[in-house]
Structure formats: C-alpha cells, structure tokens
Amino acid sequence: MTPSSSIAAPGAAVPGHEAHDDHGHHPSYLTDGTTVKSWLLTVDHKRIGIMYMAWILLFFLVGGIFALLIRIELLTPGPTIMDAMTYNRVFTLHGVVMIFLFMIPAIPGIFGNFMLPLMLGAKDVAFPRLNLLSLYVYLAGAGFALWGMLNGGLDTGWTFYTPYSAHTTTTVAPVLFGAFIIGFSSILTGMNFIVTTHTMRAPGITWFKMPLMVWALYATSCIQVLATPVIGLLLLLVTAENLFSLGMFDVARGGDPVLFQHLFWFYSHPAVYIMVLPAFGVMSEVVSAFSRKNIFGYRAVAYSSVGIAFVGFFAWGHHMFVSGQSTFNAGVFGVLSMLVGVFTAIKVFNWVGTVYKGAVEFSTPFAYFCGFLFFTVFGGMTGIAVATVSLDVPWHDTYFVVAHFHFIMVGATIMAFLAALHYWFPKMFGKMYHEGWGLVSAALIILGFNATFIPQFLVGNAGMPRRYYEYPERFQALNVASTAGASLLAFGFIIIAIYLTYALIYGKRVDNPWNSKGYEWLTMSPPPTHNFIGPQPTYPEEPHFYVDPKKAQGEVSDV
C-alpha cells in the first residue's frame, strides 16, 4: 500500500486527540458513573474489558498457585506435600483453570474487548449487550467448574480422556458442564468480534488498513465460532456417559474410546491457536510501535493469521500418532501440521524484518517482545519436532510435550499478555508505571520461564511421562531445576502486581507515552465513554505509519 503524502498525519485529523487537555468536560470511561451498578450493568466494551481483566487475573492467580503446588510436589521423587489423589486433582485443576478460564479468554476478553472498537474507529462492539452477557456466561461457567472442583474435584486431566472420565468416581459432571457454558461465552464473543469487524470499521479503514491485532482477533473469532460447538457437544456427551452410562465411548456397548479423542482435538487443537493468534496480534502491534516502523510484510502477517486459523482445523490427528490410528492418517496429519509451522515462520521473519531500519526503544513491552520471539521460535520449532511422526513416538505424552506446549501456548501468550498489559496500561488507565521495575520483572519472568521449562524438555527426552505423581530417582535433578525456575517466575509476577497496583493509584498521568501511531492511540487516554469526542475520526494512513510526512512521497523502498 503506497502511503499518500497529500493528507496530514492521522493524529491531527482526529478531533478526539485534541480533546485530551479537556478532561473536565469529557469524563473518561472510568469516571463516567462510579456506582457499582454502573459497572455491573455497563454495555461499554471498555468497562467489560476491565471486568474481564479483574476476573481473569484472579483465575490466573488460582491456576498459578496450583502450578506451584505441582512443582513443589515434584521436588522429590516420592510423595512430598500431598497424596496421589490430591496431586491428580491439582494438575487437573491447574489445566482446566489455565486453559478455559485464563488462556482462551485472556487476550480477546481483556484487550480484544478494549481495543477492537478503538482500533476500528467504532463507538462500541456491534452487540454491546451480548458482550456483557458473554462476560456473565463466562462467570457462570467458571462458577460451575470451580464449584465442582472444590466439591469432589476431578482427576482426569484437562483432556478428560474416555473411558477414564466416564468411569472415574470423582465429580466430572459440574466441571464439564462449566466448560460447556464457558464455550458459549467464547462463541458469543467471537460472533460479536466478527460482526464488529465486518460492519463497524470507520470510513477509511479498509481490510488492509486494519491493525494486525484486528486481523488476529478476527481469525481467532472464526475458530471460536466454528470449533467451540464441537467441544460443547462432546462435553455434554461425556457428562451423559458419566452420569447415565450411555455407551458412546464404551467398547462394551459398541462405543469407541478413540472417537472422544478425535472430537476433543478437533476443538482443542484449534484452541491452541485461539490462545496464540491474539498473542501474535499483540506482538505485531508492539514490535511496530517500539521500532517506530510499519510492519515489514503487513499482508503476509495478516494472511498467515487466516492461514493458521484454516490449517489449524486439519492438524488435530497429530495428537494421536500412537493411539492406533492408521499409518496413512498419521502421515496426512503430520504433513498438515508442518504447514502451521510455515505460517508461523512467516510471521517470525516479518517481525524481525520490522526492526530493520527502525528506531528501537527497549522498554518493557519490547523486552517481552524479545522473550516472545524466543519462546515462539523455540516452542514452534519443537512443535515441528513433535509433529515429525517418528520422533513423536518416544516424545508423546512425556514432559517434552509438556515443555513444548508451555513454551508456545503459555510462554508466547504470557509474553504477549504482559506486553499488552504494559503497552496498553497507559491507554486503559491514563497512568504510567515505573519503567525500571518493568524491565527487572520482565527479565525475571523470561529467565524464570526458561529455567522452568528447558529442564522439562530434557527430562522428557530422558523419558519421564507427564502427569506423574512419583518418578524414578534419575529424573530428580532436572525436576529440582524446574521447580527453582518456577519460583523465580512467581517472584516476577509478584513484582508486577505490586508496581502496577502502585501505578494505578499514584502513577504519573500520561496520554501516549510511546508516541505510538496505532489507531487506538488516536483518542485520549483513558478514552471517553463512546471512544471519540466530536465527529467521526478519519483514517488517511495505515496504522503505525511513522514516515516523515514531508518526505513520504517516493519513500517506499523494497528489500
């Protein structure tokens, strides 16, 4: 896309941007109504995003505490702090909470809700009331699941594999039903984002001028709408199997235990991309803002999001190479899985390319970008390794896989989540945090994460299976290293919680501390209730257009 120089820089054309010295006349969304009711019944996408944030951070804390319990238990080969049944429930709880209550909704729920309309120049999402409903549906599901886990607790692991989940005496039904309800929230949010992207773009924002975050959220929403119903039905079937012994997955009644795995991974493999695609979107914004550069290959990054969303649907069978599926199937799923790697590689190369001839400011969000780059490359490459059929035979269901999916799903997503939190904190609250503490905690977290999961790759190589309460002595050294890393990681998060809370109350008032030219920065920080004050903004340039307007003509250079 050739930028035109005849129109002034985007900031100048947006009335909302000038209005930021005008706080007295135009309250921000935070101060526009302060009663409890004005929050709980709000239809403002920004307030809904903030409420999502409060809950999701709480669930992250819960999942994190259980992660630490797991690591402490694995400090010694035998029993350490709990018995086997408790441990089995704890790792199930860790998985269920982190996947369904944190990873899947985190970035779309918080930053997607907050930023999507701002990035499209819209006043709100297409269906604001539906948006509020999806928050409450999410909370209802979370309540159900947590209630079930506290009253009995299930021990199936978050994958709920049959026939075990159909036979176990622990309380499976409420948790599965909770996950089923959360699925509705996911579908509603996805629908809302799709419709918003199609119909609410401000004049001037064409498809190929949308911020890459929007592209990523759009692709994510498509997966959510298409795949979530499958797991919804599956969870109902397992619940029924568990309660009424239907026989769907029971060989004795002509059922098929492997059918469950097919249906489960048909959702849960694309769900991995529900978690990482928004992360990729955040990172495209961050690398652009902190390099002060347009994205290197904008279209390639946009298309690869859609590509991952599409191919992601045809790779589920790589979870089942040793489940007795045919050799031919293994080959097909193996080769299709490779394509996901190629799409991810396109993104990685284009992010690195974005830095080329840029102007890099190494602040906290950019530090997370560096960590993200490492986790994505290493997590992605180990993903290709486990998708290589013969290599997956020894690796399948060992700690190698645990380390791999923590690297790509958790590492990359947490980096993006923290980058988004730091990058958009001033946008959301109009306050600034302490940069030094930001960098210190980023270093701690990246270091801690590596220290936690690199030993797990190795212990997986050595042959330690996942979901082990006890393990042979020879695995101990690596487990101790991993636990040490986890405590470092926890320490990093505590620091973040402290300085961000401090910044929320005492932080210096700022408007656009990064001088970012992302569309969401075209209005004041924090934004007013309907996002923009005055007439409809116009968008003459693409987002993150940092070219000198005087020199813009003929400035396009190819590499």
Partner: protein
Amino acid sequence: MSDLANQFLFLPERASTFAERVDFLHYFVVGTTMVMSAGVGLAALFMFFRYRRRESHQHTEYVVPDLKTEFLFVSVPLVFFLAWFAIGFRDFTWYTTPPKDSMDVYVMGKQWMWKFSYPEGPNGVNVLHVPANRPVRLLITSRDVIHSFYVPSFRIKMDALPGRYTQAWFEATKPGTYQVLCTEYCGLSHSKMLAEVVVLSPEDYENWLKEQQRGRLQDRQDALADTSLVPPVARMAEQGQKLVGTQGCLKCHSVDGSKHIGPTFLGLYERNEKLEDGQNIRVDEAYITQSMMDPGAHIVAGYQNVMPTYQGKLQGPESAAIVEYIKTLRTANVRETASEGPAYDPIQ
C-alpha cells in the same frame, strides 16, 4: 560422538534398532532448530542495537519486502519441515510394519500393571523377557481404561485400548533390563504402573523359555492371580481351542473349512476377505478381536449380522487365546477370492 550427544540431550541408553533411526533424526531436527533459532535471535539482537532509537519522535523509512523475500521466508522453512517429515514418516512406516518373522507377545494393561503372555505358554506380570536381536511384535490391549506402553530405551510407545489390539514392534540390540512406563494418564497409580523388559541373549532366552515350560514358574508378584484365565504352562492356542467350544463359537464357525452361519476359522488368519460394503480386509489380530467385540463393524460379504458381542464376556487373555488358536488353523492354500457365504440362511 552420538553418545556425547545423547548425554547432552539426556537421552536414555539406545537399545533397539528403532532407537538408532529415531536418534539420528532427533539430532538433525534439534541441531537445525538450534541453528535457525540462534540465527533469528542473533539477527534480531544485531538489529536492536544497530537501529536503536536516537530521538523520541524519530521517523523511519517505509520498508516493505519484495515478493522474493517473502518467497524465501516461506520456502526455506517449508523445505526443512518437509524433509523432516519425509524422513520421519519413512521411519514411522518402518515402525508400524513388523517383520514377518517377528515373535509375538500379548500385552495387556490394566490398572495398574502390565501383563505379558506368550503364545508358547508362559505369562507374567510386569516383567517381559525377550531375546536380543530378534524382532518382537507386541499385541497390546487394555482391560479397563487407555494406557500407553512406553520403553524409553527402545524409543517405542503404543496406546493400549480396551476392546482393541494395537501393535508395536522392536528389535532389542543388547541384553539388559529396560524400564517400561505408562504414559497415558490412567488414574490414581498411573505413575506406579512400571514394568521392565529383560532382554536376554538368544541362548539365555531359550533356557528361560524351557524353564518356564517345565512349570517352574519364576515370575514375580501376582502372576497366579489370573491362572483361571490362562494357566501359566498351557499353550495359548490350546486354551483358545477350549474357549471356542465353551463360548459357543463353534455353533456358527467351523474349523474344517465347511460352510456354516459364520465364516470358517480354517485359514481365516491372513485371509483377504471381501466385505459387504465392497471393501477388502486382511484378517489380522485386530480384525478378529474387533469381530469378537463389535461383530457388526465389518461384515464379510454373504453373511448376516447375527453375531452377539463378546465384549465383557471374554477377558483380554481369552480373546488373545482365541486369536492364537485361529492362527494355528492355517491351510496351505489360503483362499483369496470372495467368501462363499453361509451353508444355510440363519434363523431370523
């Protein structure tokens, strides 16, 4: 050299022919991954420094890649990934195709132990004896939930599914004792479901086998628990012969090739059967087991779907014994043509 690499990667001792193939690809993939990650990382670090920000409102050039660059971004990873896939799939095909002359052992997982039974007679719990340098095919099933049979030193793994046989094979390269782990979460004592493979030299294995057949049962733990199902000294095939009588199989299946309500057992094993839906199927352990557990799944052309399921009526070792019995009923001329159909129309 490769021992050093194994130490560096914490890989366990390499003790099977498959392990050698897998490890080679492992080094290749891990090596390339490291080099490529380092390349991307160093390029990024260099550029962070080279293009650091000098003033807060700095302008930048508008740079977009040309098609050649993007093509490079796509093709380089694609070539590598496909190369790994090709090597990996070749090895996987090798892994899923046991040699014709391999020796069979039946493996059954149950909460929380592994049971092994040999067609020649002996069986045991949690200790699998095999000879070195001879292909061994494992026919794996489960009695309750899904388990997964994993021998790190052999690099082999296969899920154990209730009501179905899966297979895995290996050729151990050196005598020794190797650990077996369960890698599919199977409940409370998942991490205690350990067993071992004892690889013996061919002579030692023969001696061991003779001792077993003399009835001097040396197996550990509760091998006796299941004597009701497969007496340790009896041959599985003999057990199967009794079972087909007591379970009523012979009411519909003949063993002499004569027509009856169901296909004859004579020459059934490894026969190509034409199915009702027009497909062909090669009769193997998996098909026979499936036909016992879910008779309606693949009906041989010309026959009616009248057989009841034996799921729950036959234990894992019993169905294995029947399969072994059917295997003994081979004829010199295995029939390749379509089935001729039953002797008379079954009573509806």
